[in-house]
């Protein structure tokens, strides 16, 4: 039982670290704002969740687990909402993507909202 828990938590931590790193490379190497936001928004929530779950599996103390779950819940609420707000603000202020696609705030508004709330 113990080894199974340790293995699981190691796997979660490693996977989370990998996601973190890929997000970091993405934010540095991608060509324009929207692709960068894609890299961060997609990896961020899952990476945080994975690392927090990995930590939960390591600790027997109930209070610590509850606190970690609170952090996880908050992250699940906050990160998509923040990336939604960010993407929407960029679209509304007519920040142009690199590919030649003329952004029209009124038409793109709803689709931008859908995209980032899913991620």
């Amino acid at each position: 039982m113990d080894t199974v828990l340790t293995l699981l938590s190691s796997f979660c931590l490693l996977f989370g670290s990998f996601l973190c790193l890929s997000g970091g490379v993405g934010i540095l190497r991608f060509p324009d704002f929207y692709t960068r936001m894609h890299a961060v928004g997609v990896t961020d929530t899952l990476a945080a969740a994975m690392i927090l779950i990995g930590l939960m599996l390591q600790n027997p103390d109930l209070l610590v687990i509850i606190k970690l779950m609170m952090i996880l819940l908050m992250t699940l609420f906050i990160s998509p909402a923040a990336s939604h707000a960010l993407g929407q603000a960029a679209v509304l202020n007519k920040l142009q993507p690199l590919i030649n696609m003329n952004i029209n705030p009124l038409e793109e508004d709803t689709s931008a909202g859908d995209k980032s709330s899913k991620s």
Partner: protein
């Protein structure tokens, strides 16, 4: 200018992580809520009000550079006599430090030594700090407060209503979160004896909840939740609570802010005194932060309204 402020925010975050690594959990708590959050917001509001253009060059850079290098060199020369980093026999750890660490659990009965030093051993000091914060709140109010005009409020209300569609997702998320934020602030307030936390941090978190609401639903809506006179009264009430605890302990025969006499048992008295004092601190800090935020945002709306008339 925007970049400057954003990087200052990151600096605050880095510092708070550093404080965690240095075992100063309470300080990290405070720095996280203040240095990274509120001060960045205030600076951004000011930048938005004063314009982001930045057309000046540094003046007399060479002289300043020389002065800085000389001062820095002297300071580094001064460090050669300092105790090494992390050494346990440094002078700091010789005088009152051991007393606070080893005796406070018997004398005060509060596991968090930072709280017991803050609220009990150095309670008078903290009283001064609370008064300073209260004074700063009054200062900001005196500098930035504007008479409210009903027609401006109506215009702002209309603008806020028109933005309802645009901010729908955020508004729903935040509406769900605000109760938890306030609950968490109370947890920090009353759990400060046993873990990191206390009045200062709780006040800032509570204020952050209100500020979040004010940012998304407009200043008018937030002012309907907590009106300006109420906030002003509360900020004074916090200082008053703090001072009256001191007076009550004097009336009971102790000295100013000596909580041993507040209850029959000294430990119980200390608990009661610390609880009340933290409450006073929390009230003052929360309401002063809200006052500061209201004043800044109210001023910027006033400026906008004035410009609208000019055009």
């Amino acid at each position: 200018m925007f970049a400057v402020v954003m990087l200052a925010g990151i600096y605050g975050l880095v510092c708070a992580s550093f404080f965690v690594a240095m075992d100063a959990v309470d300080v990290a708590f405070t720095e996280a809520s203040i240095g990274a959050g509120i001060s960045t917001l205030l600076m951004l509001t000011t930048v938005a009000m004063t314009g982001r253009t930045d057309h000046e060059a540094t003046h007399k850079p060479l002289m300043a550079f020389v002065a800085v290098i000389v001062t820095g060199g002297l300071l580094i020369y001064g460090t050669f006599d300092m105790p090494y980093f992390g050494s346990a026999d440094a002078p700091v750890h010789q005088h009152v430090g051991p007393h606070y660490i080893y005796d406070s659990i018997q004398e005060i009965g509060v596991p968090n030594m930072v709280t017991s030093v803050l609220a009990s051993y150095r309670g008078f000091d903290t009283f001064g700090e609370v008064t300073v914060i209260f004074t700063a709140g009054i200062g900001v109010l005196a500098l930035l407060s504007v008479a409210r005009r009903p027609e401006d409020d109506a215009v702002m209300e209309a603008i806020n209503d028109s933005m309802h569609e645009k901010h729908l997702i955020l508004r729903i998320v935040i509406k769900t979160m605000i109760p938890f934020i306030v609950l968490y602030a109370f947890y920090v307030q009353f759990h400060g004896d046993y873990g990191p936390g206390g009045g200062f941090q709780a006040g800032v978190i509570f204020a952050a909840g209100i500020i979040l609401y004010a940012m998304l639903f407009g200043l008018g809506a937030a002012r309907r939740v907590i009106t300006q006179p109420v906030v002003q009264m509360l900020s004074a009430l916090g200082v008053l609570v703090y001072g009256s605890v001191g007076l009550v302990s004097m009336l009971n025969g102790g000295s100013f802010l000596d909580y041993n006499v507040l209850a029959a048992d000294p430990i119980a008295g200390q608990h009661l005194g610390i609880l009340l004092i933290e409450l006073g601190v929390g009230l003052t800090v929360a309401s002063v932060m809200i006052i500061i935020f209201y004043s800044f945002v109210g001023r910027s709306q006033f400026q906008k309204a004035n410009k609208g008339e000019l055009l």
